[in-house]
Every structure is written in structure tokens, then in C-alpha cells.
Symmetry: C2
Subunit: 328 residues, 2 copies
């Protein structure tokens, strides 16, 4: 196995079984979502619930705030958990809340989740404002305190402007290239090249709607995409961001898509005729299946050094560069 | 001067002039109030405003989270600032928020502020419930994460139960003995003895309403009270907690007394005929005046070792024992 297996985003219905699967899959660290549409207090309640999980399952998981915490998790035989927002709603319009949430352990924040936000445009909006006035201030503050800018659900112009405006590398923690699957949630070669050139990271998604042939996508097809993206972005700038959502009811998918902002039903990447959770991939259904990806990459011809980079080494380097505040 | 001068509570209209006075007074560390009646979001905005002050006045002040941060402040020639709540309103009824606010740097919380709270009874209530069901859980959680239980504004029974229920020493950060000035906000010998026997700290208040003869209280009278209290509690269990409120308008005094909970005007320790801020003491009007207290204690006959304990050494030891989470 590679030394570190790190997943760029998950949102499970967290319980002991999921944590046991993480251990079975030799998963060193997972970035977990603590906010889709939640406001400040709701998000803090989610963080509080996570802190209780750390107490209740201390034999399996631990909090991760720094790259050294990931190494400690590895040494302890536990899975590290690092918090992230998929939206900027917890800021409550307050720039200062970025630092407060960083103090509470949050290390990733998407500037937008599908829709226009106070900071930038989502990937489903017809028009893309790019970074707003508040968005530029937020990027600078995130750079200062050590919170990663994640543009997975953002529009193309917003993403390019975030890359340009940020003084530190940013991420698209969970998406795939549009050359593999042309979807609003996936990223163009222009974005991916720019992301790679600035030291950023793309986490490959295993959510079926982001893949060619959706749930029927094969492991060799996935690995072929990885190889092509490595050629485009560089082997040091690609990683895994499964978007795995284990044990979640349909109501959670509907929450992700609709929040409280619409009365018309939004189907996200699905449709009225295909409104449910997609079937899981046969080769990646839960956290115990990470070794399948490792084997797939080996079979495709990646050497052990490159497999280690893709499966976790690149994330670890990125965490090392990203999670601490800038020296003043 | 004593090595460390540490003040157990202040609430100024913070600005550069106040911070310069702290430096002029050789003040090593101040516990500052960030909540009287504020709810969660309001309190977070206060914390955010403080974090901006740390950036803007980094030559004069720094954040304090641990006893080592106090020592660092001393070495750097800056004044350390540690946050505290005078009320439990920021918890929003959520036990988990104690840990989140600890992560944001809060190290003190009063269980009550004058009135009945969800946790215990305030010193102005006719009946004292002692610790409530939630109050007992909050004390245990504060013990776990390293947040100090402060009973300055609490009733007698509540204070005694907090001392008894807490597994770590607690504080009355700003009050005086009732033998010196019989006021609802001051503490009986029973409370003070129990506080001292359990390793707790009393911070002597310099707020005129807590003193004999109010604003006319003399420095020798104050020092005589210190000596008597040392005899009662032990020299290791007394310190300074000035309750200094520099540059605050009357509206702030009214806010402290009335919050948003009453339509009848509450005058706190004042009265309708005496509704204003009391005149400051001639020998302690601002942060530059701490050397006067040092001189007063020396003149009264305290030796340098005891002066050092009272002026900051005892607080530093207490911070060392109190601010870190319990090992699990």
C-alpha cells in the first residue's frame, strides 16, 4: 500500500461502521464536509457533533489540523479527519469568521456551491461574475489564515480568477476533466492547466455523475483519465477526492441540491427521470475499497512512486503548504 | 516591579491609547470580557473585532491561549490578551459550543451574570437554584476542555456548588470580601475559604461599588483588605481583577445592567439617584496606574515575593493549571 491514502472530500452518514471501513481501506485522512447550505450556528452544531465523534471513536479517528496531524494519524493507526465547507454561508457576511472557523479546525472552504454566492459564481449559474468585492477580500483572508480555497462547484471564470487572485495554491477537491465527462461540475483543460501551473491540486471524483458512463465507468477507464490528466497538469498536482456519500438517504441528496433556496425542484446532475442517488461503482462502493484504486493505477502502469503521490502524497504536501497561517 | 502583572478582568472601549497605558503600567496580561448578554453570533463578531486589533496593534498586544503565551508576551514587551465571557449566552443551549469557543481562544466563562441562567443563579436573584442539570454538564465540559469557571456574578449557593462540583480550581475573577464591603456582588467568608481551600483564585476588584467608601476608598484601606483576605484564603489564592472599564459611555453601563431582558431600569449596584459610572479611584484610574498598587502593597508591609504573587504570579500558576484540556 502507499504510505498515505488521503481523500479530498466525503460526506457520509458518519458512524462507527464507516470509520471501521476507513481503517479497513487503510485510509490515513479524509476531508469531511461540515456545510452545504448551513448558516453559522447550524455549521457550529455540525462541528460540535464531530467533536463528540472524536471522543466516542477515539480508537479509530482523530482530528487533523496540520500535515503533522496526518503523520500522527498514520503512526497511531487512526484515520485523520479534516473539516471543510462546500459553501460560504457560515461566514454570515463577516470576513472575520474565516479566522474563527479556522480556529475551530476548518481548513477548506468552497467560495460557491452551484449558485451565486457573496464571493463568486457557482457552476450552474448562467452568468459568472468572477470574484466579487467580498470574494477578493475572502481569498486574501483565507490565504492569510491558512484556509484552502476550493472551487469544485464554481463557474469557470470564478475559478480562474480565484487561481489568479490567490497568493497560495488552491484546489478543486472533487471534480473530473470535461474531456472525460462533459458536465457543468467538471473542469476544462484551461482551468486544469492553470490549476496545475500554480501548484494547485485536482482531486478526482468517483461520484458516478462525474464519470464517463456514470455508474458503469470501469476502473481502467478511470485510470486512463488519471494518466491523461497527469500529462496535462503534472503528476504532482493530481489526487483523489471521491465525493463518497455513504449511507445517505435521498433527503440528503435533495438537501444538497435544493437547500432552502428554491420551491422548484432542482435535480443537480440528475433529472426528473433520474432523481435518485446513482448506483455505486462496483469497484468503489465504500471506504474499504481504496485498495482497488491503488491496484487499478498499478495495473494501468503507474509506478509505486506515482501511485503514492496520487493516493495521498500530493495531498500531504499540499496540506503542509496550505494549513498554517502566513508568517507576518 | 514584579515579574508579571496580570489583571483578572477588564472591559474597556479598546483602542491604541488603552494598549499604550497597559505598556506604561507594565501590564503583562489582561483577561478581557467579550460577552455580557451577547448571543453566539454577536459574541463571534466581538472575537473577530479583537482579532483585527491583534493585527492592527501587534507592536503592543498579542493573543494569549496558554501560560506560555503570557511568558512570551513578557519577553516580547507586549501585553497578552485572554478572552472571557461574563455570561453563558453564547452557548446557545449547546454543550458542544464550550469546546468551539475554547478553540476560538475563550478561557473564562461565568456561569451567570447577575440573573438566573441556564446553568446557575446570579447574585441578584431572590432564590438560588444552585447548579442546574445543564450547569453540571457545563462544569464537567469546561473542566475537560480547559475553560475556567468564573462565579464573580453568581449567587452564594451556586458558587459553592460550582466549587464542589468542579474537578479543577475555579475563580471569582473580580469581587471583594463582604467583610470589606457588604454588597450582593461581593463574597462571604464561607465562599472565600472554600475557594482558597480548593486552589481557586479571588481577583480583588477596584470597581468603586465593590469597595468600602466607594470612590473614596484609600489605597491603604484596599491593602488592609488584601492582608485580611490573605489570612483567610492563603497568599497563593489572591490576585487582582480590577473590573476596569476605561472610556465607556453610560450606555455601556446600562447595557451591562439591563441587557435586553427588562423594561424596568435596573441600576445594578447603583440606584436611580446614583445611576452613573462611579468616579474612578484617585490611585487607580487607568492601566498605567498598576505600579501604584504595587507600591501600596509594599508600603503595607508585603514582601517582594508576596507582592509578585498577588500582582500576577498566582494568576500565571492558575493559567498554567487551567487553560489546557484534560488528558484523556
Amino acid at each position: 500500500m502507499p504510505e498515505y491514502i488521503i481523500d479530498g472530500v466525503q460526506y457520509a452518514n458518519w458512524d462507527r461502521e464507516v470509520f471501521e471501513q476507513m481503517r479497513a481501506g487503510d485510509v490515513t485522512c479524509v476531508h469531511v464536509t461540515v456545510c452545504y447550505w448551513e448558516q453559522t450556528l447550524e455549521t457550529m452544531r455540525n462541528l460540535g457533533a464531530w467533536n463528540r465523534l472524536f471522543e466516542q471513536h477515539a480508537d479509530l479517528i482523530r482530528a487533523v489540523r496540520t500535515a503533522d496531524d496526518v503523520r500522527a494519524a498514520k503512526a497511531e493507526g487512526r484515520t485523520g479527519i479534516v473539516f471543510g465547507f462546500q459553501n460560504c454561508t457560515p461566514l454570515d457576511g463577516n470576513l472575520d469568521f474565516i479566522e474563527l472557523f479556522h480556529q475551530m479546525g476548518v481548513r477548506f472552504m468552497q467560495l460557491t456551491y452551484n449558485n451565486q454566492s457573496l464571493l463568486a459564481s457557482g457552476c450552474y449559474e448562467a452568468k459568472d461574475t468572477g470574484l466579487t468585492r467580498f470574494g477578493k477580500q475572502a481569498v486574501a483572508e483565507m490565504n492569510r489564515v491558512g484556509m484552502v480555497i476550493d472551487m469544485s462547484h464554481s463557474g469557470e471564470r470564478s475559478t480562474l480568477e480565484a487561481i489568479e487572485h490567490s497568493t497560495r495554491p488552491i484546489t478543486v477537491s472533487h471534480a473530473n476533466p470535461t474531456f472525460f465527462r462533459d458536465a457543468l461540475r467538471n473542469k476544462s483543460n484551461v482551468v486544469l492547466k492553470s490549476l496545475g501551473e500554480t501548484g494547485g491540486i485536482l482531486g478526482f471524483s468517483l461520484y458516478p455523475f462525474h464519470l464517463k458512463n456514470h455508474s458503469d465507468c470501469t476502473l481502467p477507464e478511470f485510470c486512463q483519465m488519471v494518466e491523461q490528466t497527469a500529462d496535462l497538469m503534472g503528476i504532482d498536482n493530481i489526487a483523489i477526492g471521491t465525493d463518497l456519500c455513504q449511507k445517505q438517504p435521498l433527503s440528503i441528496l435533495e438537501w444538497m441540491r435544493n437547500g432552502r433556496w428554491t420551491k422548484e425542484v432542482d435535480y443537480g446532475e440528475g433529472s426528473a427521470a433520474d432523481a435518485k442517488w446513482p448506483d455505486p461503482l462496483t469497484w468503489f462502493a465504500n471506504n474499504a475499497d481504496f485498495p482497488n484504486i491503488v491496484q487499478g493505477l498499478r495495473d494501468h502502469g503507474f509506478d509505486e512512486k506515482d501511485v503514492a503521490k496520487i493516493m495521498g502524497g500530493n495531498w500531504l504536501r499540499f496540506f503542509e503548504e496550505s494549513f498554517e497561517g502566513q508568517k507576518t
